[in-house]
Each structure stands twice: as structure tokens, then as C-alpha cells.
Amino acid sequence: MRGKLVGMNGDRAVAYAVKQADVDVISAYPITPQTIIVETLAEYVNNGELDAAFIPVESEHSALSAAVGASLSGARVFTATSSQGLALMYEILWIAAGLRTTIVMAIGNRALSPNINIHCSHDDAYAARDTGWLQFFAENVQEAYDLTLMAFRISEDHRVLFPSIVNLDGFILTHALEGLYVLEDSDVKAFLPKKEPVNPVDPGKPMTYGALDLFDWYMEHRRQQYASLESARPIIKEVFEEYSNLTGRKYSPVKSFNTEGAEVAVMILGSSAGTARYVARKLAEKGKKIGVISLTQYRPFPAKELREAIKDASVVAVMDRSVSFGSPGAQLFMDVSATLIRSKVRPLLFNVIYGLGGRDLTPAHIEKVVDLAESVMRRGEAPEEPVWVGVRGDEL
């Protein structure tokens, strides 16, 4: 592994990456469990370790608004949020993406109210999925650090120019101390040269940003934005590969474990992927082959790679740390369903809801999911509605 081994929690690891990225502007509001990111960055700026403008705003809505302005002016910009804070940013999420800013934002994933809960759910990340931001999910503290650096590089690439979200599970990653390798400043500098803005705000060259765009232009702009986000896919892969070569840590949009020849697969995002792999390894000792699939890249959704990872499976349990009220399944489940509808050979799918508000997902839960998947395979029929694990009452 390239770099030196240090101990940090996820929030500090993100802040450290942001410092090494040598950002120009940080505009952020502290919200649990992301607070440590903002506090650490404030410290860096205050003690002169980081030469950046730190804008302490009164709300997340302002945090992202200021970030949009700063990014358009040509600055490298970072912000962070969680849960209701992201909800408050919602309006500006669209604007940040539509104006093609290159903001990088960390989300310490946290449940939405009510009732007030500071622990992990993925509702917040999912709520941003249609807004045009690139989204990445970290599985551990190392990935939170790595993805933050890569996000700047990807966002600022002139063939991309979209803002990025780096998701890290609240408390599980934001506050857990883990060993990670950090790069030397010089390596980061080489990997992430200064931002070269496109069309920066310039008093000498007036331009209009965010003009009125009625039925005569709006649709063209949306069509263009859609196509541009699609064309970011190969560039994300390119940056993942370059970073993998630099660090010796493998990155790809989809992470598959034991999927080759496995009839049953579990699909899951974020920190729980490790638990799923642990169970898969244990079951492998008993001769059972269970594949585990997780996504590093969530938006744009890596449909092709997912289809490839899933090709041997007859049953896939898609696990969501979120509820989508009144819908046929939670968000990842719907993404996977829509992806597979285009495949000739389709595995049976069912949706599992787990871990809301920080509820632990234990290996025993995953084993239950695997048991259900196997019975689905035998019966040839999957449950119509999402099943819930780890809930009191009619649990799976």
C-alpha cells in the first residue's frame, strides 16, 4: 500500500483528504454525524495548515448556495452534510448539478426525521439520486478518504463537470477509528492538479448563469445534462484505475465477491458489505456459494457492470437501508429491477429492508436473508413486498 498508515475516524479521514486536495473554499454547516469534518477543516484553516476561505453559514441551504457561487468562480470547493441538512439543501442540489459545478460533498449518512435519529440510514443519499450529482459509497474509512480525493479529480475533469457526493455511513464510519493509508501530499498534488475552471465568473467577460429557460430551451438543457452525465462513466472508471495503480487499492464501480458461479447473491451498499462478505466466507466453508455485490459508484448507476456481476445468479436479495413509502420496493431495489428488465435471463429479485436509524445488521440477519433467497430459488417465486430484517414484529 502506498502512503503511511495512520489511525483516523471517517470524518477526519475525509477532512484530511480535503486538506490534501488543497481546496480553496469550504462552505459548510455542522450537522451530526458529519460535524467532525467541518470542525477539523475549521481547525486546519484556523491554524494555517490549509490556505482556504472557510465560510461559516447559518444553514445548509446557504452552505450549498455559497458553494455553488464559489465553484462557478473557479474555486475548488468542499461541503458536507447529513440527513435533514441534505434535505434543506435539496433545492440547491439541482442547481449545483445543472450549472455544472464541481463541488465535492461528503454525506455522513443519517436517518431522516421523525423521530429524531442521528444514526445511519441511506434515505438522505437516495433523496439526492435524481438531482444529477455523481454519487459514491464508501465501505470503510479508507474508502471514504480515497473516494474524496477521487471525487475532486472526477468532478473537475473537463469531460465530466458534475458535482460529487461521497457517502459514508453515519457513526459506523464517521466516528469509528480505523487504520488507513494516507498518501504523501506530493502524491496527491500529482494526482490532483489545480482546478482549471471552465467559463468561470469573470467581470471582464459577462455571462448569464441560470437564465430563464422556458418551453423553448429547458428540455434541450435537460437532454444535454442527461447525456453528459452518461458520458462521465468511462472517465470515472479511468480515474478509479489510475488511483488503483497509484495506491495498490482496487477501485471499480461494482464490487463483486464470489459471484462467479453463485446462484444466490446479496446486494448491499456501504459499510454492511463487509458483514455480507464475512457471512459469505463462513458459508463457503460449509460448501455454499453466496455472491456479494456492492456498489462504489451509485450515480450514474453502473447498470452494465451490475448485469455482468449478476449474470450467474438465479436469486438476488437487494438490501436497502431505507424505505420508499408506497413504492414497490426501496430505491436500490428499483434501480436493480429497472436494470435487469433489459436482461434476457433475469434472476428472481426481492427487497430486504434493514438497518434503519442505525439498527445493527448482524451476520445472523444476513444468514436469514440467504436462507430466504435459497427458498425463493426452490419455490421459483419471490416475495412481492419488501421483507424487513432486524425489526420487532413479523420479522423475516
Partner: protein, 99 residues
């Protein structure tokens, strides 16, 4: 600026500058908004007493003021709100349906 605006020719999505920006200034000179109008103000210069109330109140501003304080209406930008007709003390402006 001469010729047709780069921005306002009806381009396809492939030809637009990214991010919905308009990379040239003064585009409102090309972006004639008068076709939004349903009602059209018709000025009777014979009645006009050059008080300039319409010129002050027009929100666009689409009332053009001559050197001698006479007024005329710039139909490229008049949106037909009728304020001028309302404030004119001598009823020199009449709102008519746009045809």
C-alpha cells in the same frame, strides 16, 4: 453586435453551451419578449400631453422617450400589462386585443 445571436438561433441539445449558461452579454437585445403579449397598447399622439407618467411606470421599460418628451411604444419588449393605459391622465393609450 451584428447578425443573429449565437444563443437564440434554435439549436439542438448537442449545440448548447454547457450548464445552461449564456456566454455572451446583452442577449436581451436579441431576445424579443413582445410576443408574450395578449393586449397591445395603442397610443394616440394627438391626445398625449407629454406628462411622461407612462414612461415612468412601464415595468419593461418599453416606453421610449424622445428628445422633445414625446413617447412611443417599443413593441419588441412591451408585454401588454396595461399599466401605461391605466396611468395616462388623458386616456391617450388604449389597450386592444393583440391579433
Amino acid at each position: 453586435m451584428s447578425g443573429e445571436s449565437v444563443v437564440l438561433k434554435l439549436k439542438t441539445w448537442r449545440d448548447l453551451p454547457i450548464g445552461g449558461i449564456i456566454p455572451e452579454p446583452k442577449t436581451s437585445l436579441h431576445n424579443k419578449t413582445g410576443n408574450w403579449r395578449a393586449m397591445k397598447p395603442i397610443l394616440d399622439n394627438g391626445k398625449c400631453i407629454k406628462c411622461l407618467l407612462c414612461w415612468i411606470h412601464c415595468p419593461e421599460p418599453a416606453i421610449l422617450r424622445g428628445d422633445d418628451d414625446s413617447v412611443r411604444i417599443d413593441y419588441d419588449y412591451c408585454k401588454g400589462c396595461g399599466i401605461c393605459a391605466n396611468v395616462c391622465p388623458v386616456h391617450a393609450i388604449e389597450m386592444k386585443l393583440e391579433v
